[in-house]
Structure formats: structure tokens, C-alpha cells
Symmetry: D2
Subunit: 174 residues, 4 copies
């Protein structure tokens, strides 16, 4: 096992086993996107059910950047014997969406309008973990764009993506 994979697994372990901090006392809608994502990271929900179903989770977040880590498995395979494009898309969509979310002030929300994924290499469960690193490109008053790359512990690139998100006042969403 490489040093980097060890590091990735240790991060996962630590996040999974940490005693949650006392829950934030502020109402969710009084917290910035970054505050909310950091609460998720520390075990204060809500985490995404899709993450449990597809075995991936948020492992890092800062302003404008979010990282998801996942474990490729046979349950994610297409009939051809490698990970299905939908699994890549789930991690990449999460990474770009949370990168955008991490830049939003309290009271602001976002929704994903489109995602384009490029598939670069086949992926199998011989790769223990992959990471999708999302970063914002542009955040405007009404629209944000971001990109993400999905790679293994040896830096091999498996896929990359860009997204367009709508950003708006949370009350305007109804």
C-alpha cells in the first residue's frame, strides 16, 4: 500500500470514528455554505444518502474547494466489468456542487443546471480509493461554474467534469 493510500484511508477512518462535536447551535439557514459543509464533515448531518448507497463521502472542504473519496466496488460495475459512468458522475457532481456551495453566504442556495463528464480511463476495484477534487472557476451573482478531477492514489486521472450552477436567495427557491 502506498503512503498516499494509507493517508487517504486514515482520513476516512478518522472522519468515520470521530465523536461528533456538539451540534452547531445556529439554524442551518443562518450558516454559510462552508459552515454547513464543515458540519457534515464532522458528522453533523445531513450527509447524502446516495453516498452511503454508492460508498463515497466528503473528506475535505474549504472555500471554493471540496473533495469526495470513494471506494470502487463490483456493485458499481457496468456489464463490461468496470465501474459504470454513473458512479463517476455521482462523485464528480458532488465535488463540483459542494465546491460551489462552499462559497455561498448564509441565506444563499444553489442548484446544478448541467454537468459534463469526460471519461478518461476504465476504473476497477483494484483501485482501493479514488478522489474527486472540485474547485470553483467562477462565482457570480446568479451563476457559478466549477470543475473536478477524479484520480487514484498514484495520481492517475480517471475522469474530469465541469458544471454550471444557478445560485440564488434561499427563499427564492420555493
Amino acid at each position: 500500500m502506498t503512503a498516499r493510500l494509507e493517508d487517504w484511508l486514515a482520513t476516512e477512518q478518522q472522519l468515520a470514528s470521530a465523536t461528533p462535536d456538539p451540534a452547531p447551535t445556529q439554524e442551518p439557514d443562518r450558516r454559510s455554505g462552508l459552515d454547513r459543509l464543515q458540519a457534515v464533515l464532522r458528522g453533523h448531518g445531513p450527509a447524502a444518502p446516495i453516498g452511503r448507497t454508492l460508498d463515497f463521502r466528503l473528506v475535505e472542504v474549504e472555500h471554493g474547494r471540496a473533495v469526495f473519496q470513494g471506494a470502487p466496488a463490483q456493485a458499481h460495475y457496468n456489464p463490461l466489468g468496470s465501474v459504470h459512468g454513473g458512479w463517476f458522475a455521482a462523485l464528480l457532481d458532488s465535488a463540483v456542487g459542494c465546491a460551489v456551495h462552499s462559497t455561498l453566504a448564509a441565506g444563499r442556495a444553489y442548484t446544478t443546471l448541467e454537468l459534463k463528464v469526460n471519461y478518461v480511463r476504465a476504473l476497477t476495484d483494484r483501485v482501493a480509493r479514488v478522489r474527486a477534487v472540485g474547485e470553483v472557476i467562477h462565482v457570480g451573482r446568479r451563476v457559478a461554474t466549477a470543475e473536478a478531477r477524479l484520480f487514484g492514489p498514484d495520481d492517475r486521472l480517471y475522469a474530469h467534469a465541469t458544471t454550471t450552477c444557478l445560485v440564488f436567495d434561499a427563499e427564492a427557491a420555493s
Copy 2:
């Protein structure tokens, strides 16, 4: 329940419970893409493990067109309380990929280079089933493109996608 949803559920039931035909005797690589997909439809594997994990399956296939049906569920949700973009992408990717596959002669294979998904509306488990209908746009000697739309029994559109696939001689893939 609408007549259309009843119809969709009946199709699903029938495909799940049908006694498989005798397995095709031809080697998989002697069969056309359409023959192989029709075998999958009739219960002769291999179906996609991702389909079991995310609760969707192939329900129709003909030359240049493939339809997948899925059941939105809380296990597919993002933290915001609706179906995660990765679930849409999994169905749409399957629909466009199999639409392309259905046009390939024996000995030919494909791989997906990119997929762009537009998310049009939030989806929840109040919608019992959705369908992703994929159709080829262009199939050339080296490249194929296709599109798909994902909608509910009342024809409400939730997402749509286009793809670019590489097509090649199966032996050239190694």
C-alpha cells in the same frame, strides 16, 4: 395510479419474472450489439451490477434506441431531499450507451468518452418510476453520438443528456 404507470410496472414485473429463454448458443462476440442487449432484456446476463445497486433496468431495446426504467428512492437522495444528480446520470448514461451499442455489428465495441447532463427539475420518490429513453443521433466508423431524456409517467421531463462514444473493433480495445 395512471394507466401509463400501471403499464410501466407491468413491463417491469414481466421482465423480472419471465422464465429465461434458453441461453443463446452463439458466443457473445459473434452476436451483434442488439442481440446481446435483447439477451440481457430476457434475463440472460450480464446485467449491470450498478442497476441492482441503484434500482434501474433495461426495459426496451431496438436498433438505435434503448429504454431504462428506475425507481427513485430515498437511498438515491442528496442532502437537500431530492434525487442526486448521479442517479440521473447513471440512467441517462446507460440509455445513451446502449442506444449506441444496439447499432453495432458483431465484433464491434464502444466506450463512452463524455456525457453531458441537463438537470431540468427536482425528482423525489413521490414519482414511482421514471424512464430514460436513449436514441442515437449519428453513428460513424469511429465515433457515435446519442441523446436521452428522462421523464415520468405523466411525461414531465426531469433531465436530458447527450453523449460522445468511441466505436471500434473489439479486438482493438486491448
Copy 3:
């Protein structure tokens, strides 16, 4: 020359030479998108300067659909001896954008957020004219999507595209 190409050239000729109707008396911002595009079609500006530069123009418009016609020429070539991808993109962008515009009520405006173009075949000036036909897929309160195909008089497909547009109250654009 095929009957269809003759037809396309006749339309172009007729639009170019028609005596403009009396100019619409309503203020532009009191007119719907369709009214404004029909005025452009009948020679009441403003037409797009890019259309003169790249030799293409609007030839048909109805609710949710817009058609642009262009003349491939050596001035549009890449160094490889065929029409540059930017020329395809200009026609396709116009077709999808105006398809969206044609659905907007007076006082509403749009802006293009993203465009994805698939290049299917090389194009040269041996093809006298091509058409880009744009059609809306979904028009919501804040976002619209549309698609377009670019083909010759013999129905050969050269490229296709999808777009995501933001739609908003014109006064909100400032």
C-alpha cells in the same frame, strides 16, 4: 442543384430583397421575443453583425423554434482545409438562443450560460448552404434548455448542440 437547395436559396433571396414592412410601432421591450425575432426576419433590425461577418442569417422563426442558414466559405476554414469549429458554433449558438428567445414574453430576456457542440462531419464550401435548426427542450421560470442540428440540403448532419440559458426579467439584468 437539388430542389431543396433551390428552395433554401429562394428563401434567402426573398428575405434579403423584401421591402421591409413598416417598422413595428411598439417599443422593443413591449414586444415578445417572437415578435422581435419576426421583425428581424422581415428586415427590421437589429440583425447580428456576426451574421454579416460569418455569412449566416435567420430564415425561419416560430414559437420554440428558430432556423439559421449559412454559406460555408474558405474564409471560415481552419488550417486543415475545412470549416472551423467556431463557424459551426456561431450558427448553432444562434439557433438555440433564438429558439429560447422566441418563447419569452415581453419584458423577459435571456443569456446563454453554456453551449456544447458535437462535430460529426467535416464541412467544406462544396456544400452551398447549411441550416441550423434550433428547438427548445424545456423552458422554466429561471432556466431554459434547447438543442440544434446543423445539416445540408441532402439532410447530411454536420454538427449538433445543446444549450443552457438563464431567463429573467429584462430589468433584472442590469
Copy 4:
């Protein structure tokens, strides 16, 4: 005028006025993509006719990276009074395509399969010059991907793009 814009204009001037080096003696198809692009940069054709029509040109190229510079003008406008999306697409398409081309060995060629452009900000002729900087993301045996950003002398971002290209043996193109 900012120092950076002065610098950009000086580069343009220098490339336009330089006495071409003696033309390369090697046959074009014996030269690598980078060699061919550097010849174009130094005035040994063929430059792209579309560049003359739309007023942009190659200003830098190295392995995996190509930069185009253009002058926004009213001739590139849409009817709304800003630069048309097709002009952005032409520069971005050139930047990503040449970034890919710059990595190819002699005897190899490429063709663009798709381009996705995100439009971030309106652009007018008050911005004297913009640059589209293209960089490869992945170059494989059959497929390459690249990205580009288009920005002004003050680093304001106007648009960005990604592409998928097919790469192949030049003789296989026929």
C-alpha cells in the same frame, strides 16, 4: 493602457512583422505537431483563414499548451450589443485543439469531437484584446481532452471550455 496589454500588443506586432525564418525544409507530415505550430507562429503557413475573418491569431505554443489572442470588435457582436458566443467558441476551439495538436508526434493527427463552452461574462470592444489559453488534460492513444480559459489583460474571465478530440495515425484519416 496597462503594462500587460502593452505586452500583449507588442507580441502581436512582433509576430506580424517578423521576417519569416527560412521555411522548414522537412515535409509537413514529417514534423511533429509542435514543430508545425511553431512554424505557423513564425509566419510559415498555413494560418487559419477563420483567424483573419474573426481577427485572432496564435501567439504562443509549447508542448501541451497553446495561446490565441483576439481583438473583440463590433463585427463580432450579437444583436444585444456584445460579442457573440460564436466568437468566443472560435478562440476557445482553436486553443484546445492546438494544445492537443502540440503533443502529437509526426504522422499523428487529431479531430475535434466536441466542445463545451461556458459563458461567464459579456464582452465588448472596450476590452482591446483577450487571450484564450488552452492546456491538455489527458492525451491517450486514441483520445485527448483539453481545457481553455478566455480572459482579458486584467485577468477577468469571460469564458472557459473543455474539449474531446480523437487522435489517430494521419494515414488512417482518409
